[in-house]
Amino acid sequence: MPVMTMRDALNQALREELARDRSVFLMGEEVAEYQGAYKVTRGLLEEFGPKRVIDTPITELGFTGLGVGAAMVGLRPIVEFMTFNFSILATDQIINSAAKMLYMSGGQFKVPIVFRGPGGSAYQVSSQHSQAIESWYAYFPGLKVVMPSTAADAKGLLKSAIRDDDPVIFIEQERLYGMKGEVPEDEDFTIPLGVAEVKREGTDATIVARSLMVPVALKAAEELAKDGLSCEVIDPRTIRPLDIDTIVESVKKTNRVVIAEESHPFAGVGAEISAEINERAFDYLDAPVKRVSGVDVPMPYAKNLERLAIPDVEEVIAAVRAVAYL
């Protein structure tokens, strides 16, 4: 199986889906002539032409609403946000239009659209360009929210998102774009939305991690194994709808759980997973659910402060030790 970066896996998914279905088109800032601010869309303009790979002005609300309108009448737009920080300008169209259209039209107008781009922490770009906002979108019924952590997942999930008939928020992680992994080349390779994956099996504690925190959790599990502590690492991959069953099954086996996330703790996805575990598996828990979250402050610029703001391997190890009373 070929090994490639997550960036190239995403590019392959886009290329295959553009080739497969003429109703799919891609638009966003710098996606075409510039080849993508993060090069995820490299080569697509040359292959599919300016009708289907479209540079937009910097007008997030405008092109997001345009995409939703086009989806209402049969197209399947992929809207790239240069980063999800800029999607904040477009939230009215994502939340009030895309998420609710099918429901408030009594099932008449589906909105098959993918909003994708990098989200979460970046490198030293301070408060406005380095934040994880998946809990905002995950809050709304009508939206699906996907966050891949490996190259193969990125490809398989993006292809499913594009083929899905609902609006999908697809949050990539800038820090993972260069991460390599084996990726199936089969054009029919997809990964279903709403299905978690056990990234590492274990028996003593469960670590639920998503996106950037998955490699962090795997590293922590590796370190803990040296001390004889066997950790199971679960990546939900889709945040909404959440595959809570897989998480609960794991907790019933390990009786201890740590949730690692780079987002803020307050009203976050980790808080939701924690609440679900408490409701469904309270009697199985040998320790309170523990969250390891991004610090509850805006992201600072200085390198040392930024490092302190995002959970690292040591913090996850400490949290697992805490729930294991070690």
Partner: protein, 363 residues
């Protein structure tokens, strides 16, 4: 009365707000009210249909006000009374397969585009027989079969959506056009300006119709907009625009026909500013204390239906008896709609959970 085009980018007088916050149509348009209406080109059938639709949506809205007072209709309810010429005139110029998308003041436009008064009234009643199956209500009327893409509740949000619908027509290489209605208050939203820029930049077959009824809820145009000539704003995007007397249904029809020609033949957008007036409050809960009775009466003297009745009568197109017959027909249609709504069942409780996702995932 005809319209005034800004195609030549002539600067027209910006009307100023008066003591009561009243804004009159631009001076040119005011003068034209004393001129003769344009010669009637339409056949009798078309004219009767237009007349019927205007009267139908007037009586329908009057019935809505009544039903709302009786507690049969809940939530927000924004009535279209006074603005009928805008929606009917514009939509009368469309083909059936063209699209209409609009704001929350949309009952009349929905009916004119082809949703039955029964299905609209049932929707207002929150019934299963409603055009959105009771899930949308007054502000969210939809009907895919007649390409009516909704009723949208956030001021100006339908403008980027309309731009996307027009984008899709061009992408699919059809010659369908999209009519997008919005009030003048939406013009101050970024969504309007972002859409205007994209539509002209990408040459999209969208017709933007600003229904300038001169008040954004209780705030007059003079208190809300620095440049109060909406049509003129198209210049910022090099888009063709027209100012139209929104109280004249045939003027609206002609202006829309010109815009449709540009859209169908050359994929070009147009901004139409229709100066009009709503007689009722912003919604049913608004007593309208921000304007005077005299101001309302001034516009009622130019009532679009009365004026059109007189025109058709003068031209011998409708006799007094024809007019009485249509009135009786309309009355029966509205009564039937109320009966349908009353008798339609409430949505089944299981409907609460349907239509959240097109591809639901069980977890």
């Amino acid at each position: 009365m005809s319209s005034q085009t800004t195609e030549r980018r002539e600067k027209s007088n910006t009307p100023a707000g008066g003591a009561t916050g009243v804004l009159d149509p631009p001076a040119e348009a005011e003068n034209q009210t004393h001129r003769q209406s344009p010669p009637i080109e339409e056949d009798r059938q078309t004219l009767v249909k237009i007349y019927h639709q205007m009267l139908l949506i007037r009586r329908f809205e009057e019935k809505c006000a009544e039903s709302y007072s009786l507690g049969k209709i809940g939530g927000f309810c924004h009535l279209y009374i006074g603005q009928e010429a805008v929606g009917v005139g514009a939509i009368s110029a469309l083909r059936d397969d063209d699209y209409v998308i609009t704001s929350y003041r949309e009952h009349g436009q929905a009916i004119t585009k082809g949703i039955s008064p029964d299905a609209v009234m049932a929707e207002l009643y929150g019934k299963a027989g409603g055009c959105s199956h009771g899930k949308g209500g007054s502000m969210h009327l939809f009907d895919k079969r007649v390409n009516f893409l909704g009723g949208h509740g956030i001021v100006g949000a339908q403008i980027p959506l309309a731009t996307g619908v027009a984008f899709a027509s061009k992408y699919k290489e059809t010659d369908q056009v999209t009519l997008c209605f919005f009030g003048e208050a939406a013009v101050n939203q970024g969504a309007f300006h972002e859409s205007m820029n994209l539509a002209q930049l990408w040459k999209l077959p969208c017709i933007y119709i600003c229904e300038n009824n001169q008040y954004g809820m209780g705030t007059s145009l003079a208190r809300a907009m620095s440049l109060q000539n909406v049509a003129e704003k198209a210049c910022a995007y090099e888009m063709v625009s027209e100012f139209v007397d929104g109280m004249d249904v045939l003027a609206m029809r002609r202006a829309t026909q010109r815009a449709i020609k540009r859209a169908r033949e050359n994929y070009l957008p147009t901004l139409i500013e229709a100066r009009t007036y709503r007689y009722m409050g912003h919604s049913m809960s608004d007593p309208g204390n921000y304007r005077t009775r005299a101001e309302i009466e001034k516009y009622q003297k130019r009532d679009p239906i009365k004026t059109f009745t007189a025109t058709l009568n003068d031209h011998g197109i409708l006799s007094d008896k024809d007019i009485a017959d249509i009135e009786a027909q309309v009355k029966a249609e509205v009564e039937r709609a109320v009966l349908f709504a009353e008798e339609s069942p409430e949505p089944d409780p299981s409907e609460l959970y349907t239509n959240v996702y097109a591809n639901p995932i069980e977890n």
